[in-house]
Symmetry: C2
DNA sequence: CGCGGTTTTGAATTCAATCAATGACAGTGG
DNA sequence: CCACTGTCATTGATTGAATTCAAAACCGCG
């Protein structure tokens, strides 16, 4: 992880790469990052990188581009994915955290930002709008986790996968009905939702059979019936 | 919901009531509440109250005593419990929230505090330590939700119930090995963990049979083997 | 005492995990 | 260029587990 001054990072163009999914750019977070200035530590990662090092000293982290997942490896050896962070998403770190979390990079051209708690506090004391923005983003993190608790609480596996894909797609694109490139494998979905890989695959097949979704390739899906996909979890996402 | 000035609320003595479980008192949160002064709206509730009204205008809420659960009633009619809040726990509210959450009071003598976002910001701008404390508590909320995602992600129902009880007990008492009065029914546990009531009951019976826990009454349990109960979810809770 | 709600247990069914195998695909090295 | 290898995705058959349906035991309370 190398420290880079702000402005020295060149972000990949939105429409390029094909491989990396199209993610909505969050201008507010960019502004926030610039506001904090040179005290922010940026880091660039590639797919499958393990970016545990950002946790080393605690602090406040957020994603500027790409996708990162927060994982826990259980004693049994199986991996659980706790959260998937996309541009604009914050994740708070505590060096005295009870759990040995690990962080995996899911897409190329991933850029994270980090600031020590002490540094942030001294800046934000002078400029309380930083606190307010941070609060807002932290609440988004809470909503994300609450959503996921609802997903995992569904009864059937098809409902779990459906509502999961529904939330994922609504985060990946602003225009419903567009093709979405899934930034994760079936294994990742399984480890996030808490079911077996084969069950994920069967659920996706079932949803496709029902015409709820449509698959261009295994990784590229189009939501045909957002209501049925969400199935009562969401109330307003079109 | 009636507005009460700070200091006018008399909290139940720690050792009384028998019915209400013994909850660790959080002095920091009390100090925080006093610091904010008269702008805080307190409310006292009884068991089975529906305190949706606190959500009416958004803002920041926290629990001073008792237990409150955050629920969502699905279209199918089934209730999902998203979170269980105890003294010192915060829950952020947004009036433009997409979901029709509801809040249920779980114990008598429950007291909540609420402050409008605008009011809090103007106070905290003058006194940034309020922001810092609030951040710390919000992070606790995130940890709580992450913990629960791990609980729901366990494979077998016995693991789910075991790790859930483990977390619950560690929040309800500071001394491990003590008898704990569960502040919720089997139905509540089922709706929180996402399994059927009968399965919860069977899991508890199984844990008792293994000697991992011991039941004085159906609602009062003693953890005999905390390690086996947590089963790899926790790393440090004794 | 009877009543409503809670907890527990039992039996049958349904569903997901597991085991096993195949196909699709990208990358590698001959 | 093609076989080889590893990963990912899908499907089938079987086993195991949880839900469902049903009922009994228990408890606090009027």
């Amino acid at each position: 992880m190398n420290r880079i001054n702000l402005g020295k990072i060149s972000f990949p163009p939105d429409d390029a790469t094909g491989q990396a999914p199209h993610l909505p750019r969050d201008d507010n977070v960019m502004a926030f990052t610039h506001e904090l200035g040179g005290v922010v530590t940026l880091a660039r990662w590639e797919r499958a990188d393990c970016c545990d090092s950002i946790v080393a000293n605690g602090g406040i982290c957020w994603v500027l581009s790409g996708i990162i997942r927060k994982c826990l490896i259980l004693e049994s050896g199986q991996r659980r994915i706790i959260d998937v962070m996309m541009p604009g998403d914050f994740f708070c770190l505590q060096k005295d955290d009870a759990r040995p979390f690990s962080f995996e990079v899911s897409t190329n051209e991933t850029v994270t930002a980090r600031i020590a708690r002490r540094e942030f506090d001294s800046l934000a004391t002078l400029q309380p709008s930083l606190y307010r923005f941070f609060h807002e983003r932290i609440c988004q993190t809470i909503f994300r986790l609450e959503d996921h608790i609802l997903v995992q609480g569904r009864t059937t596996s098809t409902q779990k996968v459906g509502s999961y894909l529904s939330l994922l797609c609504s985060r990946l694109t602003e225009q419903p009905g567009t093709a979405v490139v899934l930034p994760m494998s079936r294994y990742d979905i399984a480890d996030h939702v808490g079911i077996a890989v084969e069950t994920v695959s069967r659920a996706i097949t079932e949803l496709r059979r029902q015409g709820v979704i449509q698959l261009e390739t295994p990784r590229c899906l189009v939501v045909r019936d957002a209501g049925k996909l969400a199935d009562g979890i969401l109330s307003d996402i079109a």
